[in-house]
């Protein structure tokens, strides 16, 4: 049995053509956009620039075959943004994968023998 002080941790992300297109940070961005209806607000909450957030949104929209976010830029109140049904499905799939990873990590922490 392992010394219980050691713990296995990890992360998963989704790639296409060896390029990362979705991980924890982007899922958090999608969820914050969904909650606030605003890319600007989500960016502020995550302490990233508006441009960074837009770059990530565009990158996801370009690589998932269909948009995850639909938005109007600028205008009164700074535009608004909505996570599409496909975006919601992607978020939910990521959480499921992450949950499976957590089980994997827990299981393998038990067998750690360092």
């Amino acid at each position: 049995m392992s010394d219980p002080k050691f713990k296995l941790n990890g992360r998963v992300w989704i790639e296409t053509g060896d390029e990362k297109i979705l991980g924890h940070g982007r899922v958090e961005l999608l969820e914050r956009i969904q909650a606030s209806g605003s890319i600007r607000q989500a960016a502020l909450q995550m302490k990233m620039s508006y441009k960074q957030a837009w770059d990530l949104v565009n990158h996801m929209n370009d690589h998932f075959g269909q948009p995850l976010i639909i938005s109007q830029r600028g205008g009164k109140g700074g535009g608004n943004a909505v996570v599409t049904d496909h975006g919601l499905k992607v978020i939910s799939q990521f959480h499921l994968l992450n949950q499976k990873l957590q089980e994997f990590l827990k299981e393998n922490t038990k067998t750690l023998n360092l």
Copy 2:
């Protein structure tokens, strides 16, 4: 069935007290020290400073309960370093965990449905 263009990727690492103590980079460092007999050579190969490499080695030695590396600093030829039996065991356990992770990722890539 998923669109085959999406792929799940990931990493695992070992923590103690929420602090990372071993991951891909450190395992590579240990293996390069083992192969070259020299922390300086391993650092050069990995494009890190000698100090960085030493900090990592000391951090691992301090957190694994027993040393993973035994070294003589300086001296003729710049000292030498050896990975201990315990270090070899840790390397081997990490590779095993990583292999299990690769199986997990492969299995879950199959179920990706984005």
